[in-house]
Amino acid sequence: MKEPGWSASAWAGQLALSCLLLLGVASADEAERRAAMIDEVVATQARYGDRPFTPETLAALGHTERHRFVPTEVRDAAYANRPLPIGHGQTISQPFIVALMTDLLRVGSGDRVLEVGTGSGYQAAVLAELDVTVFTLEIVEPLAVEARARLASLGYDRVTVRHGDGYYGWPGEGPFDAVIVTAAASYIPPPLVEQLRPGGRMVIPIGSRFHTQHLMLVEKSADGTPTVRQLLPVRFVPLTGGH
């Protein structure tokens, strides 16, 4: 005998409700983990950096759902402060380094940013959270296709992804207020410097795939002269006391 209330539709309703609840729990869970990640990034910067990250940078990181940018097999570690493999020989940088690069770019509402090396699209999404328009180039086609679909599905309509060679930049959309080059290059392509607006900033991480060793910051002065700064993410003094 069937118990009242346990009809097929009731089962379906229960199931739907459970799924919704689970989803809610899952996203609440992700939000919590993301908040914990931000806390860790803030604490790390307080301990090892020279000045705190801006609230805008932290808010952008806090709004970007990092777990949606990594493959399912490493999703558990999406909010750990570590680099993650995303396939095709690419990685998604450690959140601390993403925060540092975003902060260094000093972009704000209405700015235009060029990114060379889209990867998963995470860095572009973080930038888009700052209310800037992002033009991003990726040379590995499957990555470009995946990132475009992912960013579109998450509603990042201010990010345009194109598959192509980053060397020439994106002449039709320049000049840019900021450029970020995450693709490995043996030298800085002159067209990218040219497409940087006077007063604009370019950030280039240098190191291996998993470890950003230092950052290059190219600043273009009002008269168009570029100056370069080399920054170590971690405050590290190579000498002990006495010298």
Binding site: P85, F96, S186, R209, T212, T227, F236, G242
Partner: protein, 811 residues
């Protein structure tokens, strides 16, 4: 007793010894090939750790035979060929399965899952070693077995296996070479079966198996190169394709063309450069790189970009120079010399495959670069060439041959490199004419490391040549990605210093050291928080350089021929600080070779202890009479021999590498020399015992090892220096003559010990074999670690001491 059913040949004759030799040779060749294959798939330091651990299969065989001695020996005639055949079949299968394990060397620090996968990898690769070593151990453990003869065959076979593996790599890529090795394993199984009277079945299997090998699917030979290696990265760029590939003992050389997206490789090119890059192809060795192959059409004018990197600095100071390029590779430095109007260029390249590619299939593309007027290509090792060739130059240019990625990750930390030692700098300076320059370029790293070690090395060299004010003889220029060090025997003139300043400011490069420069001249274009390169160079060329080196958080003390680890920068004391700062990217500052060596040592010690302790219970159960004291002597004796043999072997192989000039062939000759002469020593045990008492023979061997070891330590550097200019064959003969007496003596203690164990406690023999196997693995890693800190001289001293220790703990 079933073992009495063995044929006379199996028991005392040479057939089984031959099978043992074949199998031992195949196992050693398998080891060499695995190192080669994993260096291609992943990175060399990772290969080193994986294969070290897999070799514990040798230790595990002792444990296995100790635990199942009775049943295995009862079926010896079946067990020996089965184990040998399991090696033959298992070696290629284990490698193919290992390729499927998605271990990612770069992720080890972040992901516990990776350690689990690493464990699976160890296990897979250890199995073939376990099979081969079990067969060898069984042969030795039979009651009445001629231990000295079998051990002698084991050593001699291993020696020939080392040599054979290099010969195989000369003629074929590593994967087919591995199949040949498997076939030799199968033949060993067949010969073993012949010795055990089990002829027909085994012989058919043994000789059929090799016949099946050519029938394997072709794509099994494709190597799954790590997705993070530079070659894999390049091949993801649309339109790229491999246009040539060569395989040899020095590596897999790959040339990639990228017609769709032009390759633009100009590391450190000035931001002010307006020059265009020519068409390029990329050259990779073992998937690392790239270096650029420039299209040259007999017109040097389009190569202006070569004047816009820090490497061009020496040419700003020299007029129509005669140039020696060390590490010529794909020819960029030769083109740079030609672009700057060099009148003669001697280009030295170690790898004959690179030379062959440049002079044959790509001769058109590179415009017969190496046949241009004034250009001569020498396929040789750099130090050997410098020692042999008495020509003088205006410029000795040490090219930037390694890729940035590997350098940045500190993957070369364990490499012995004789290009950047104090002695090497001295030889380079000897080759310079009056007013000549030595120029060395390396990648920048923050905090400064390579640059600081170069300056420290330059100072040590200049002081050794009696120069009072080394600071006047050094210039260090820093670009945004690379730095170039200039060293001269005569102080830089005011005119030259003005040229350097002009070159630096014209290209937006920074002065890191220039005699007489002010601190505010440094750090202008590529701005650091502090002028760290300049401050470091000033200290290193100042009064308290030693204090500065000691206080620096990275090891920037100069490398020497005895401690040739230029790329080892990590100090153990700094590791906790870097690890604690991992959240802020601290791990990027760690040179990975060293921590992985420590990890290998730790794992080898833990696993080795487990493998050694496991059979003790069985031993106790089996033989109540074996006193703990005797067990300790077995442990101490065979452990010490395992550690010391590897220590001496590794130390003298290193001494020989420089002398013999060619790293891979040198290692093969030295290894073969050591193992074969030790094998002959072991074979001679019986005769020696007929002549003298056992204790006299053993003590004689130990005294011989001590005298030769210490004597060589003192005399060899001078002897080798004198004879370095001799032709190859003569130097190999000298090397073998030097090795043979030492190897002979080193071959005696183990069979002497095994004989005693076989006579008094035969059940402990497999255990002794296992201890020796584990100690050899630990010994190899320990020797590398000791050499890194204290030099190879210290490794010799410790090894000799360990040998002498065995005099008081003979079983």
């Amino acid at each position: 007793m079933r073992h009495l059913l063995l044929s006379e040949r199996a028991h005392g004759g040479w057939t089984l010894a031959f099978a043992v030799g074949l199998l031992a040779g195949a196992a050693l060749a398998y080891e060499v090939l695995l190192v080669r294959l994993f260096a291609i798939l992943q990175w060399h330091h990772f290969a080193y750790m994986v294969i070290s651990l897999a070799l514990l299969g040798f230790g595990a065989s002792g444990t296995l035979v100790a635990l199942f001695r009775e049943p295995l020996l009862r079926r010896f005639e079946w067990a020996f060929p089965s184990a040998a055949m399991a090696f033959a079949v298992g070696a290629p299968i284990a490698f193919q399965l290992a390729q499927l394990v998605p271990v990612d060397a770069l992720e080890l620090l972040w992901s516990p899952r990776q350690w689990l996968l690493l464990g699976v990898l160890y296990l897979l690769l250890a199995l073939p070693f376990l099979f081969a070593a079990t067969a060898l151990c069984l042969a030795l453990a039979r009651p009445g077995a001629p231990v000295h003869r079998l051990y002698g065959a084991d050593l001699a076979g291993s020696g020939l296996g080392a040599l054979g593996s290099v010969v195989l790599l000369e003629v074929m890529p590593p994967w087919p070479a591995l199949l040949v090795v498997a076939a030799i394993g199968a033949i060993a199984a067949g010969v073993g079966a012949l010795a055990c009277t089990l002829r027909i079945r085994w012989l058919v299997a043994a000789f059929l198996l090799p016949l099946l090998l050519p029938g394997l699917p072709r794509d099994l030979g494709d190597l799954e190169i790590s997705q993070y290696k530079a070659l894999s990265e390049m091949l993801r760029v649309p339109g790229t394709h491999v246009v040539a590939e060569r395989s040899g003992p020095l590596g897999l050389v790959t040339v990639v063309a990228s017609p769709q997206v032009p390759l633009r490789h100009a590391p450190g090119l000035s931001l002010t450069s307006k020059a265009h890059l020519p068409e390029q192809m990329a050259l990779f060795v073992d998937g690392n790189g790239p270096s650029a192959i420039n299209r040259f059409q007999y017109d040097i004018r389009p190569f202006a970009y070569l004047g816009d990197t820090p490497e061009a600095l020496p040419y700003a100071l020299l007029d129509a120079p005669r140039v020696l390029v060390l590490g010529a590779g794909s020819g960029t430095e030769v083109l740079r010399a030609l672009w700057h109007g060099a009148v003669a260029v001697d280009a030295v390249e170690l790898n004959p495959l690179v030379a062959e590619l440049m002079t044959q299939p790509f001769a058109d593309f590179v415009g017969d670069l190496y046949a241009q007027p004034g250009v001569r290509l020498h396929v040789d090792e750099a130090r050997a060439f410098v020692a042999r060739n008495q020509v003088h130059y205006d410029l000795v240019q040490v090219a930037l041959v390694d890729g940035f990625g590997a350098a940045a990750a500190g993957l070369h930390a364990l490499d012995e490199n004789y290009l950047y030692t104090v002695e090497a700098f001295g030889r380079y300076l000897d080759r310079l004419d009056d007013g000549g320059l030595l120029a060395i370029t390396r990648w920048n790293r923050l905090p400064p490391r390579d640059s600081m070690k170069l300056v420290a090395t330059a100072r040590a060299t200049l002081e050794a040549s009696g120069i009072d004010r080394p600071a006047d003889h050094v210039v260090l220029l820093r670009g945004w990605k690379t730095h170039t060090l200039l060293v001269a025997e005569t102080p830089f003139s005011p005119g030259q210093l003005a040229e350097v300043r002009r070159f630096a400011s014209g290209h937006a490069f920074d002065l890191a050291w220039l005699p007489g420069m002010a601190r505010d001249e440094a750090n202008r274009f590529n701005v650091l928080d502090t002028p760290a390169f300049h401050d470091g160079a000033r200290e290193l060329l100042g009064e308290d350089a030693a204090g500065f080196v000691d206080a620096y958080k990275f090891d920037i003390s100069p490398a020497t021929d005895d401690r040739p680890h230029f790329f080892q920068f990590l100090r153990l004391g700094t590791l906790p600080e870097l690890f604690s700062k991992r959240g802020a990217g601290g791990l990027a500052l760690v040179d990975w070779g060293y921590p992985l060596l420590l990890a290998a040592l730790l794992q080898a010690l833990l696993l080795g202890a487990l493998l050694i302790l496991l059979p003790l219970r069985a031993l106790r159960r089996h033989h109540q009479g074996t006193e703990p004291a005797r067990r300790w002597t077995v442990f101490a004796y065979f452990g010490a021999i395992g550690l010391a043999f590897m220590g001496l072997e590794m130390a003298f192989i290193q001494k020989l590498v420089l002398f013999l000039g060619h790293p891979v062939r040198a290692v093969a000759v030295a290894l073969a020399g050591f193992l074969v002469s030790a094998g002959i020593g072991s074979l001679a045990v019986e005769r020696l015992l007929a002549w003298r008492r056992e204790m006299t023979v053993r003590h004689g061997a130990l005294v011989g090892i001590a005298l030769l070891g210490l004597g060589y330590l003192m005399l060899l550097p001078g002897l080798f220096e004198t004879l370095l200019a001799w032709p190859d064959a003569a130097r190999i003969a000298v090397a073998l003559a030097v090795i043979a007496p030492l190897g002979f003596c080193m071959g005696l203690p183990l069979p002497l010990g095994l004989r005693r164990v076989a006579a008094h406690a035969p059940e402990a023999l497999p255990w002794a074999w296992g201890i020796n196997g584990c100690a050899s693995v630990v010994g190899a890693v320990l020797a590398a670690l000791l050499a890194l800190h204290f030099g190879f001289g210290a490794v010799v001293l410790v090894s000799v001491w360990l040998y002498l220790l065995t005099a008081v703990c003979a079983p």
